[in-house]
């Protein structure tokens, strides 16, 4: 039972995006539609699980001085392979994801889990940890993509849900939702919601802001 904690822990309690604020870049870029978000989530989860497994397997033989390079090499190779597979089997989606699959390499989430967990734990728990973090990331990405696609384009998975005025319906799409800043807004609201429900996640302020003694008037 204890090892299963690695799986469900990161989904809400220790979510990589809402608690650790990792992997934000891709969360902004690919969440304009549910389809791209879903493929991105599957690609990231796949890379995370495989990278955790490989790195955990050879963890006892990775020299400390070059461990980050070794981890990045393994992650980058897995990402390229996944990218090639997507280009071969899901060509439409690969065109819409463009460079973001390649950018999984630079996703701090993958390197973060490799360095923090897979380097020190056996293969089984490492893979569960990778899967759990991948699912936690996916959950947030899909929620953000749901909000952005629904309000930004009136569709879900490309299917019309709110008929837009372009198609003769009544809904005026909120173009802001299709721009990157809206992902920040949705993410911020999510972080707020999660931390209101679980106050334990609220971080201590580094220091209190003093009242300004010089300040005059009300």
């Amino acid at each position: 039972m204890k090892t299963l904690r690695h799986l469900y822990g990161p989904i809400i309690d220790n979510n990589p995006i809402t608690l650790q604020i990792l992997g934000i870049c891709s969360a902004l870029a690919v969440t304009t539609s549910m389809t791209t978000a879903l493929v991105m989530c599957m690609a990231l989860t796949g890379v995370l699980v495989m990278a955790s497994a490989v790195i955990s397997t050879i963890r006892r033989h990775i020299p400390g001085s070059i461990r980050l390079i070794i981890q990045i090499t393994i992650i980058a190779s897995l990402v390229i392979v996944i990218d090639q597979v997507i280009q071969a089997y899901a060509f439409d989606i690969s065109q819409r994801l463009s460079i973001f699959v390649g950018l999984i390499v630079t996703n701090c989430l993958v390197l973060g889990r490799a360095e923090a967990f897979a380097m020190h734990n056996p293969v089984g728990p490492s893979m569960l940890d990778g899967l759990g973090n991948g699912l936690g990331y996916s959950l947030i990405l899909l929620i953000v993509a749901f909000v952005r696609e629904l309000f930004g384009a009136g569709t879900l998975f490309g299917r019309m849900v709110l008929p837009t005025i372009y198609e003769g319906g009544w809904y005026t799409p909120l173009n802001l939702m299709l721009l990157a800043p809206s992902a920040f807004i949705v993410l911020g609201l999510l972080v707020w919601a999660v931390r209101s429900l679980r106050p334990a996640q609220i971080e201590q302020a580094d220091y209190e802001i003093d009242a300004d003694k010089e300040r005059q008037g009300p």
Binding site: I58, F91, L178
Partner: protein, 269 residues
């Protein structure tokens, strides 16, 4: 006597302390080799499928473009051919070359110094840098008369290179259709140039005025004459890029010589 048994060598390597130089170099080398084999085999094994996907995509877009021009479908049927003729033209002279269009790769040619030229800075409105000296074009003939020509155009857009096909009617000045082949513009804004509703604005537009200068442009807001196409709100730079593609590729450094020959009737395959 040196022990050359690979198994015991391997065991000795693993037994070395992690911080030793030999092991550091050996681990780096092994990881790099295994990873490179993995990556190259994935690339080689999957390349045929990816190429087939790309070719299918290009063909599908060309077919969709022809299907969107009802008159052309009729001419095709009447002339008894089910597809267009593809020829490779020399952009410098406007002549048809004998390069086999089946093996000609326009994208590769654009970066090959032997087959491309640098675009003079003042003419490079489309921000391309170089262009291939040869380009594959599709033509549709009825008897000996060229009825339709489809030209590939491109320009550097807001965050991607936009590739499109533009079809011209037999006066070589009226747009028959425009179809975006490839783009990676902002989803929901610039990428709306892919929408059929926007591409449907193009047929009937005029490229150049009587003096011969190219005027067709994507404007902000609503079009007011035959040289203007409605812009997309929030996609001004993508729209300008499509305009630039038209201006560059139909101009002197693009298909200008080819179009001149087509108009004169001296374009022979």
């Amino acid at each position: 006597m040196v022990d050359l048994n690979p198994f015991s060598l391997w065991r000795r390597l693993l037994a070395l302390p992690n911080e030793s130089q030999t092991k550091t170099i050996a681990v780096a080398f092994i990881v790099a080799t295994v990873c490179s084999v993995l990556v190259s085999s994935a690339a080689v094994l999957l390349a045929p499928m990816q190429e087939a996907n790309r070719a299918a995509e290009r063909q599908a877009r060309l077919d969709a473009m022809i299907a969107s021009m009802p008159a052309m479908a009729e001419i095709l049927e009447a002339s008894g051919v089910d597809t267009l003729e593809t020829v490779v033209v020399d952009l410098r002279s406007g002549e048809v070359t004998d390069i086999d269009p089946g093996t000609f790769d326009a994208r590769a040619a654009a970066t090959d110094p032997a087959m491309s030229s640098e675009i003079p800075r003042e003419l490079d409105v489309a921000g391309l840098g170089r262009r291939a000296d040869f380009a594959p074009i599709n033509i549709l003939r009825e008897g000996d008369v060229v009825r339709l020509v489809i030209l590939p155009i491109s320009a550097s857009g807001y965050q991607s290179t936009i590739y499109a096909n533009i079809a011209l009617e037999d006066d070589f000045n009226t747009v028959a259709a425009l179809s975006i082949v490839e783009q990676g513009e902002t989803p929901g804004l610039g990428s709306r140039i892919e929408e059929p509703a926007w591409q449907a604005l193009w047929p009937g537009k005029q490229i150049a005025d009587e003096s011969g200068s190219i005027r067709l442009s994507v404007v902000r807001g609503r079009a007011s004459n035959a040289f203007e196409v409605d812009g997309i709100t929030g996609a001004t730079r993508t729209g300008s890029a499509v305009s630039a593609a038209v201006h560059f590729w139909l101009g002197e450094y693009g298909f200008g010589p080819v179009l001149a020959r087509l108009r004169e009737g001296t374009f022979a395959p």
